[in-house]
């Protein structure tokens, strides 16, 4: 079973979200990076861009597939992980840490509660496996 930290929230598209002060940090899960294989490119929005929950905010590309990234919550991008343009493999090595993608200042706090808990995401993965 893939690593699913308890203190994060999740989407069915395999993004994680972490509350950090005023903003929410976003990345893809360990399961997602395993499924993708070696990540070779990550395309992120610019700081200041608006993202919308469940809508595409970027692209992650591996040696075998290319996938859209979906925003867990709506808001303004306040920070992006610039390191990924030079070292996209960080997403594979440390998906919940140095492989983070964007930080968003949420515009609708209510959306947070609609995200999956770690337990719900694990159940979702278990279901998908069957």
């Amino acid at each position: 079973m893939a690593n699913v930290p308890k203190d994060l929230k999740y989407t069915r598209e395999h993004e994680w979200a972490k509350q950090e002060g005023d903003s929410v940090r976003v990345g893809i899960t360990a399961y997602a990076q395993e499924q993708l294989g070696d990540v070779v490119f990550v395309e992120l929005p610019k700081v200041g861009a608006k993202v919308t929950a469940t809508k595409n905010f970027g692209v992650v590309e591996s040696v075998k597939a290319v996938s859209d990234l979906f925003a867990p919550i709506s808001g303004e991008v306040v920070e992006i992980n610039g390191e990924l343009s030079q070292k996209p493999e960080t997403v594979n090595q440390d998906p919940y840490g140095r492989g983070w993608m964007i930080a968003v200042k949420p515009s609708n706090k209510g959306e947070w509660d609609q995200l999956l808990t770690a337990q719900q995401y694990e159940d979702f993965l278990a279901q998908a496996a069957h």
């Binding site: 490119f41 395309e43 597939a65 290319v66 859209d68």
Partner: protein, 449 residues
């Protein structure tokens, strides 16, 4: 009517019509407006012996005026440059001359390598980091560049110089209709773009400024100044250039272009009445993931030997589907191969000579032709191998008259720009001899007298 060249029989046709519920082939075609249909069978004789047929077809083809039968001064995007004979020999080899381009690296190292070499030569000529394996023609290259600039900048307007080929603009307008990209004009009264006027049009909504050099009227544009204007507004600079000129003219990439596109027909591709042509497309490395089209890269295999594969395919629609950078999923591989053989045959010095001779002969021709009373250069700006002549008689009539004397005199500009109804666009390549130019001048003098 049964035909030996139509694979299905009358019985099979009947069954197919039965499945889709049509009573006859006629019924199937009923939706096609009557006025665009031929109301009678084609006027063909039932059969001809092969030798008779060849004689007949040759007689029909002989009615065409082409660059072999006539002395060609026509250009406007397609040019009568020299096509070295090794090209035809090499591209018609069975390994290359296939109906479809095989891309599997395990089966197609030869094809992939020629494409890689093509890309390398185009990148070097244009002064860009990366070139794709080609797309259809200059017009589709420009349209794809507009879509790419829109994707890169997330902006919605493309500003096009008036000197950009009018037909390229029309193709670009068609491509831009779906995504809702607005095209704007940057005018120029003297044959070149008025850059100060362009500066006012290029702004925060501009995805790209597009200029062509030499432009449609043959005049040279100031690429570096255009780059400064585009980049000052955060837009890309797209330059339309003819690669056969780039042995002499500076690669637009070295002058600040972000995307260089063009028609590569001059690189050893025969005129063939306008196609197939060769769409050249090159860009800066940081834009490579937004580039359309096939891309071949060099790599090493499991034994460490050098090899070639398609690369960055995740941009393309067989992987990326609706979100692909482009709907183009093919290239004109055979024409690109012609260009590769052309450049390898001519070499650096040869290509420089083509450019030098073309421009020197064009200037000689301009000097000679403007000595004719009533004939003058329409624009004062420096030109390369093509120029607009103002004539004292309607250019269409002059062209018809000169065709009877063995000259393709040029392209009348009226259908492209009504303000230039009295102008003829004349192109001169390295193939024209002094005798041909002098003969043309004598014939033109009589035609406009």
């Amino acid at each position: 009517m049964a035909s030996r060249y139509i694979a299905n029989t009358a019985d099979e046709q009947k069954r197919m019509l039965g499945v889709i519920g049509a009573g006859s082939i006629e019924e199937l075609l009923v939706k096609i407006p009557a006025k665009v249909r031929l109301p009678r069978p084609l006027g063909l004789v039932p059969a001809m012996a092969e030798t008779d047929l060849i004689r007949h077809l040759k007689a029909l083809a002989g009615k065409n005026a082409d660059a072999d039968s006539h002395v060609c001064f026509m250009g406007a995007g397609s040019y009568d440059h020299y096509v070295p004979s090794p090209i035809n020999h090499l591209v018609s080899r069975g390994e290359f001359f296939t109906a479809y381009t095989p891309y599997q690296p395990e089966a197609s190292q030869g094809t992939l390598r020629t494409i890689y070499e093509y890309q390398t030569m185009i990148a070097e000529l244009t002064g860009m980091d990366v070139a794709n394996a080609s797309i259809y023609d200059g017009a589709s290259s420009l349209a794809e560049a507009a879509l790419m600039a829109h994707a890169v900048t997330a902006r919605n307007e493309i500003v096009l110089s008036r000197g950009v080929h009018p037909l390229y603009k029309r193709v670009t307008a068609t491509y831009c209709e779906g995504p809702g990209i607005r095209l704007r004009d940057a005018a120029g009264p003297d044959g070149v773009t008025d850059l100060e006027a362009a500066r006012k049009v290029v702004g925060a909504k501009t995805a790209a400024l597009v200029i062509q050099t030499p432009n449609f009227y043959g005049c040279l544009e100031d690429v570096a100044a255009a780059a400064e204007i585009a980049h000052g507004a955060g837009a890309l600079l797209v330059v339309v250039a003819d690669p056969v000129n780039l042995g002499v003219l500076e690669g637009p990439g070295k002058l600040g272009a972000d995307i260089v596109i063009g028609e590569g027909q001059g690189l050893g591709v025969p005129l063939s009445f306008g196609g197939p042509n060769l769409g050249v497309f090159a860009a800066k490395k940081e834009l490579v993931r937004r580039m359309p089209g096939r891309l071949v890269g060099a790599t090493v295999d499991s034994d460490g030997a050098r090899g070639f594969v398609l690369t960055l395919q995740t941009r393309e629609q067989h992987i990326r589907r609706a979100k692909a950078t482009s709907n183009i999923c093919t290239n004109v591989a055979l024409c690109a191969l012609m260009a590769t053989v052309y450049l390898a045959t001519l070499g650096r010095r040869g290509l420089v000579r083509v450019g030098e001779l073309s421009t020197a002969k064009a200037h000689y021709a301009a000097e000679r032709l403007t000595k004719i009373p009533g004939v003058s250069l329409r624009f004062a700006a420096p030109f390369f191998k093509e120029f607009a002549l103002k004539l004292p008689k309607p250019p269409e009539r002059v062209v018809t008259r000169l065709a009877k004397q063995g000259f393709l005199a040029g392209v009348p500009l009226k259908s492209f720009d009504r303000a230039l109804a009295d102008c003829l666009l004349v192109a001169v390549t390295e193939k024209r001899t002094k005798a041909e130019i002098d003969g043309f001048a004598a014939a033109l003098e009589k035609a406009v007298a």
